[in-house]
């Protein structure tokens, strides 16, 4: 048996996902859409924040839509649908993240009316969604005051890929002994200079700043 021959490959393992994501990003850009990928651990308040965001943007006359990923059930889609915005649920049946092709499939099945802002609520997971580009223009990492200030240090990969961090459930800060300075330090350690917006979807605190931030991203 002859010696094996070494062949250079030098190809991204997620090449196919990256290609689909790149095509979608270009389509989104041409359509003038802002596409937001929401990532966080389960229970950090993605759905509640997204619900309030959909309601407020619709009130401001924006056409918004959402895709929500969960391992099972369409509960989040039903919650978000109460905002009046069109919502589609992706059930991954075990898969721990969304992939670009899944999002594209959902979009193809959607009536082709113009949308200003599309939100993709990823599967709640601080590890797996890290490397999967969904063609988004904005990746938002959520961190609730209840889950510990050092979460970003424990999961640096995901927080490092985010464009902005949103601290959620600030109405619970006192009850959780939330150390705001430590949380801001942790975020800065994994993504120096990342903007941070502090919100409570329950009390409404910080939501104006969040909406203003989103509006500023519109082309």
């Amino acid at each position: 048996m002859s010696e094996p021959r070494i062949l250079e490959v030098r190809t991204s393992i997620l090449k196919r996902n990256d290609e689909v994501a790149r095509e979608m990003r270009e389509e989104f850009r041409r359509a003038g859409m802002v596409v937001v990928n929401l990532v966080s651990s389960p229970g950090s308040g993605k759905t509640r924040l997204l619900y309030e965001t959909l309601v407020r943007l619709r009130r401001a006359g924006r056409r918004v839509a959402a895709i929500v990923g969960d391992v099972e059930t369409d509960r989040d889609a039903r919650r978000l649908g109460a905002s009046g915005a069109p919502v589609r649920q992706i059930m991954t049946h075990g898969l721990c993240h969304l992939e670009a092709e899944m999002v594209r499939r959902e979009l193809l099945a959607w009536p082709s009316e113009h949308v200003d802002c599309l939100f993709i609520e990823n599967v709640g997971n601080l590890v797996c969604p890290t490397s999967w580009d969904l063609g988004e223009s904005l990746r938002v990492a959520l961190l609730s005051v209840a889950e510990g200030e050092d979460k970003p240090l424990k999961y640096p990969g995901l927080f490092n890929t985010a464009d902005v961090a949103v601290i959620t459930k600030t109405d619970l800060a006192e009850a959780c002994d939330f150390d705001r300075a430590a949380a801001l330090d942790a975020l800065a350690a994994v993504r120096p200079g990342m903007p941070v917006i502090e919100t409570s979807a329950k009390s409404g605190a910080g939501l104006d700043a969040w909406i203003t931030f989103l509006e500023a991203r519109r082309p």
């Binding site: 090449k15 992939e99 490397s131 890929t161």
Partner: protein, 125 residues
């Protein structure tokens, strides 16, 4: 456990490259994994054993090259590898820097291929 998704793509990529080069089987795959890529080497190795079954990689060894986080420090005007992933700061002067030059890699670097019946595969791509 997204390592299985990753491993399946590694197998697909390697098998396609082997086929394109006229090879028969792949005996080894080398992948580069950045320390910020959120992929666990051990989990990837376990997933690879499942993903390779029934493919030209059935007997292949997986080699995982860890890629450290490398930052550019505008103050020192130099790149530096970090021993730890966080904080993202220049190890020389301590200044925080988010200018990453490496650390998110997830790529197949190379494969080792053997042709049918021990024939060597033609050189190059």
């Amino acid at each position: 456990m997204h390592e299985l998704s990753i491993a399946m793509r590694v197998v697909d990529l390697a098998a396609a490259r082997c086929r394109d080069a006229g090879g028969d089987i792949v005996t080894a795959v080398t992948v580069r994994v950045g320390r910020l890529a959120a992929v666990h080497g051990g989990a990837l190795a376990a997933a690879f054993e499942m993903a390779r079954e029934g493919t030209p990689l059935a007997e292949a060894t997986l080699r995982v090259v860890d890629v450290p986080v490398r930052v550019w420090c505008p103050q020192c005007r130099a790149e530096a590898d970090l021993t730890d992933v966080v904080p993202l700061a220049c190890p020389a002067c301590g200044r925080p820097t988010g200018d990453l030059r490496a650390g998110h890699e997830l790529e197949v670097e190379s494969i080792e291929v053997v042709g049918p019946r021990g024939d060597t595969v033609g050189a190059g791509a």
